[in-house]
Symmetry: C2
Subunit: 221 residues, 2 copies
């Protein structure tokens, strides 16, 4: 094992430090957050920080970098109170990554990257048409992380649109059925394959695999 | 596409609702958070909510469920001010999942699940010996999500121990080299394979693949 102390990490060149700290905490979710400005310009941006906050009510969070530079996503959400979260697949990960370029506020990343904006019902924010899981959210609250100015945005799920083949009978979304990718650090993309589902863990009971054929035993240690 | 409205989601049976809301936001990181109580009992618990909050200083966050029931991880972190975050691999995912059973406070999940506690330098919290990426953290702050009582815990990275073969020259951790898994919902495990790294995105410039051989073009649309 290589040991990197706090001091060693602090003194790394900034790109190396960003690589290290962004990768070591594991695979992250890959989502496109889409919104619309007051004057009607749409925006779409890739995020690797969408997290589950609660099921009842259904709340999702995501982290925004400090507002010291222009943050179109933040401004649009504050103006319209709605936004959408759209899954990134193997088919669109390059276009999704391209949304991270610093486009002007009057330019839409949809147009610039070749993603397609679409609308569902009377929901005001654009969805990403290519995405097999599209979630309409309303702004609920925000929490500023005092330590560095990041903001945890909290939103309520208003609508979920999901490709029929992805949703199992027990409402579990089989993400690999729709070729979703996950993110490593700021620039890596991975293709996961779901290998197992395990039973609810109870003290001193053996776990069971809920997926037929995924019963291979763990390697001994 | 299947449409699930807010009302349709709210009226789902609770297990189905939990499946849906926990899976639709994508693949999550799989980590074991380990800590030690005042009286010396070690604790280790699986989390799918570890997120990156900043590189300079290096900060990681994770979400704890409401404190309305006993939360050993929270109590231990508040008592000792330190904890560790340890990557979950294909070799230990079943033992990692088993830590979610409700063991008593005087029982160590290390003993109960067959994971091995280990210590590095003079860091007071236990690490998970089987993990190829082990991160020692100190408590920095906590933010209560008023909407449902969840807590975002914020910690500073004090030490990183990482398997040598995982760390590339530019300090990017190649997570599939160490067989890390990712989590789907509350019970699913996936094995990702890193397929690409993309160049920093700039307006109107074409992205380049940083991994030799990953140059396959995106499917047209």
């Amino acid at each position: 094992m290589i040991h990197l102390s706090k001091k060693a990490i602090r003194t790394l060149p900034s790109r190396h430090k960003a690589n290290l700290v962004n990768t070591v905490s594991g695979y992250k979710s890959a989502n496109l957050i889409a919104s619309k400005s007051k004057d009607g310009t749409t925006n779409v941006a890739i995020f690797n920080s969408v997290i589950h906050l609660g099921s009842n009510p259904a709340l999702l969070g995501f982290v925004l970098r400090p507002l010291t530079v222009e943050r179109h996503t933040y401004d649009n959400i504050k103006a319209s109170s709605t936004y959408t979260i759209n899954a990134v697949t193997e088919e669109i990960y390059k276009r999704a990554h391209a949304t991270s370029a610093k486009y002007r506020k009057d330019e839409s990343e949809f147009t610039k990257t070749g993603l397609t904006e679409s609308y569902q019902g009377d929901f005001p924010s654009p969805f990403v048409k290519e995405s097999p899981i599209q979630i309409g959210c309303s702004y609920v609250n925000e929490y500023e992380i005092q330590e560095n100015g990041c903001i945890l945005m909290v939103g309520a799920i208003e609508d979920i649109y999901i490709k029929e083949s992805v949703l199992l009978d027990d409402f579990w979304a089989k993400l690999d059925e729709a070729n979703l990718v996950s993110i490593v650090g700021l620039d890596g993309y991975a293709k996961p394959k779901i290998t197992d589902r395990l039973s609810y863990a109870k003290p001193d009971e053996t776990l069971e695999s809920l997926i037929h054929g995924a019963q291979k035993s763990e390697s001994s240690h």
